[in-house]
């Protein structure tokens, strides 16, 4: 951090420290349905960030006194592996993880038809194994894919992306080096893309309204790009499932024929 001032955040060709343009996301890869024992799951790589999500529910909320007769509880648990950060993290959940869990669960609650499942809980567990800024957005993006994988009815996916500022420039999806800039602003954002409703919004940094507006609007664009990647990942999955089903049907046909021959 002491040396951060010497970093050239935007070079003469308009490129950032990791070679991206100011409005460019890092590479994102999402794979749904990766864990067999969870009811829904997803794996995400977002730049260096790597996360696994597992989803259970709606299932009976226990102990009973936490049940809400009007809706399902959304229990979102965000955790970082001890080795996922530069300095070893304590295995005990920290205050940062607790806060992120809360706001992420609230973001998803808007998207899920919670009112259809009174007295239940929907449990969403996310673990990060590698990290480089933007982990809560990567986690939330993957979580909403895992919810779809679990077949939980939703109004829309939730798509998340951070936007920020480094060395006076508004940038999409900041990386760690950019987050450490002396004038850094970091604003994680999540929307339901079809209506562009904001379901998660946090910010730290110091910023005036006009600059904030520019950042906000770039963030929305980022979320919409993330949405396309999510949909593609889910589509690919369903195509695979469809293929497998076709194979199974053919197999059954074959066996039926064998039986008929006898």
């Amino acid at each position: 951090m002491a040396k951060s001032e010497e970093i050239v955040y935007i070079n003469s060709e308009g490129k950032r420290v990791d070679g991206r343009k100011v409005d460019e996301l890092r590479p994102i890869k999402i794979v749904p349905s990766v864990l067999s024992r969870a009811e829904g799951s997803a794996y995400i790589e977002w730049g260096q960030n790597k996360a696994l999500v597992g989803v259970f529910g709606p299932r009976e909320a226990l102990p009973q006194h936490i049940q809400d007769p009007t809706k399902a509880l959304v229990n979102y648990v965000y955790r970082m592996a001890t080795f996922s950060v530069p300095d070893r993290k304590s295995p005990k959940p920290g205050r940062r993880e607790i806060e992120i869990s809360k706001v992420s669960g609230e973001a998803l609650e808007r998207a899920i038809f919670v009112e259809r499942f009174p007295n239940t809980t929907i449990d969403i567990y996310v673990y990060l194994f590698d990290s480089n800024a933007g982990t809560r957005c990567a986690a939330l993006t993957a979580a909403s894919v895992a919810l779809a994988d679990a077949g939980i009815p939703m109004r829309d996916l939730v798509s998340a992306c951070a936007v920020g500022r480094a060395a006076g420039t508004i940038i999409l999806d900041p990386c760690k080096a950019e987050e450490d800039a002396s004038d850094a602003v970091d604003m994680p954002l999540a929307i339901m893309p079809r209506t562009k409703e904001v379901v998660l919004l946090q910010m730290d940094g110091l910023i005036g309204k006009e600059e904030w507006k520019k950042a906000f609007e770039l963030g929305i664009k980022g979320c919409l790009q993330v949405y396309e990647i999510q949909k593609k990942a889910l589509k690919r999955k369903y195509e695979e499932i469809a293929e497998e089903e076709e194979k199974t049907i053919k197999q059954i046909d074959k066996e039926l024929k064998k039986v008929e021959k006898k």
């Binding site: 806060e99 904001v198 919004l201």
Partner: protein, 263 residues
């Protein structure tokens, strides 16, 4: 009157009234409840402040302590904000470790102050890599009648503004002797809006919080800069709504700032 079931009934009333832009306690949409501020509430604290916002009652106290700087910022001290929901603050609180709500509240108050650069962490350094001041701001919620965010951030800033720096002798704090006041360069404060039935309103009282769809808290400084943003609750905001809240936050926080007499 103190029963949670009655609050729930009030919540229906709140949602009904808001359709005609009315509030249960007769306030305008963008009006704060009456505010009482009592600084220097605790002599054993290095700084302290009690804020009563309507019936919401919070007490913030500051303790300065000397410790080794973090390895990655050897020339800086830091601040730490803690929140304890006292079990009498509401019929449903239970004594125990800070839950999600208290953790969120503490961290948003922390960011609002920290990011405003109100406290220059480098000036907290006593000896590089060896020792620096750490400022512990602990907030106790005695009565939760709504909008703990604004009450807590006001109490925290109020406590910082009357914080004295203890005298050190052989690296140890000398009791009851001070060498000056903590320098607080900005006046960062949170301003919180609730969204109910599509309407925005300032400083939600408890019945309004129980009825609200979503909440947004905006940390601002007197220079019209934002130092924190936090959306809460299961609902959502549109861009236009957020922009409206930002404009109102600059305006309404200025009213709060006037209440903090500089001594």
């Amino acid at each position: 009157m103190r029963d949670d079931i009655i609050w729930e009934l009030r919540s229906d009333k709140v949602r009904e009234l808001i359709k005609s832009s009315q509030r249960l306690d007769g306030r305008a949409l963008y009006e704060y409840r009456p505010i009482k501020i009592e600084t220097d509430f605790s002599k054993n604290a290095h700084g302290s402040c009690r804020v009563v916002l309507g019936e919401t009652d919070v007490i913030a106290g500051v303790k300065m302590d000397v410790a080794e700087p973090y390895p990655d910022t050897p020339d800086e001290g830091s601040i730490t904000v803690g929140v304890e929901f006292m079990p009498m603050a509401s019929p449903v609180f239970e004594p125990g470790p800070p839950d999600q709500n208290a953790t969120e509240l503490a961290r948003v108050v922390d960011r609002c102050i920290r990011e405003s650069k109100a406290i220059d962490f480098k000036k907290l350094c006593i000896e590089e890599g060896e020792k620096a001041w750490f400022v512990f701001i602990d907030i106790y919620v005695a009565n939760d009648s709504g909008n703990l965010f604004d009450a807590s951030s006001l109490a925290a800033l109020g406590a910082l503004l009357n914080t004295k720096i203890p005298k050190l002798e052989d690296d140890k704090i000398v009791k009851d002797e001070f060498v000056g006041k903590l320098e607080v360069a900005k006046r960062p404060l949170l301003t919180t809006f609730a969204k109910i039935n599509g309407k925005l309103l300032l400083d939600p009282a408890i019945a309004e919080e129980k009825a609200m769809d979503a909440r947004i808290s905006i940390g601002t400084t007197e220079e019209k800069l934002m130092s924190a943003l936090q959306k809460g609750g299961p609902g959502s905001f549109t861009q236009a709504e957020i922009e409206q809240c930002i404009d109102l936050a600059f305006e309404k926080s200025a009213e709060l700032r006037k209440l903090l007499k500089v001594e």
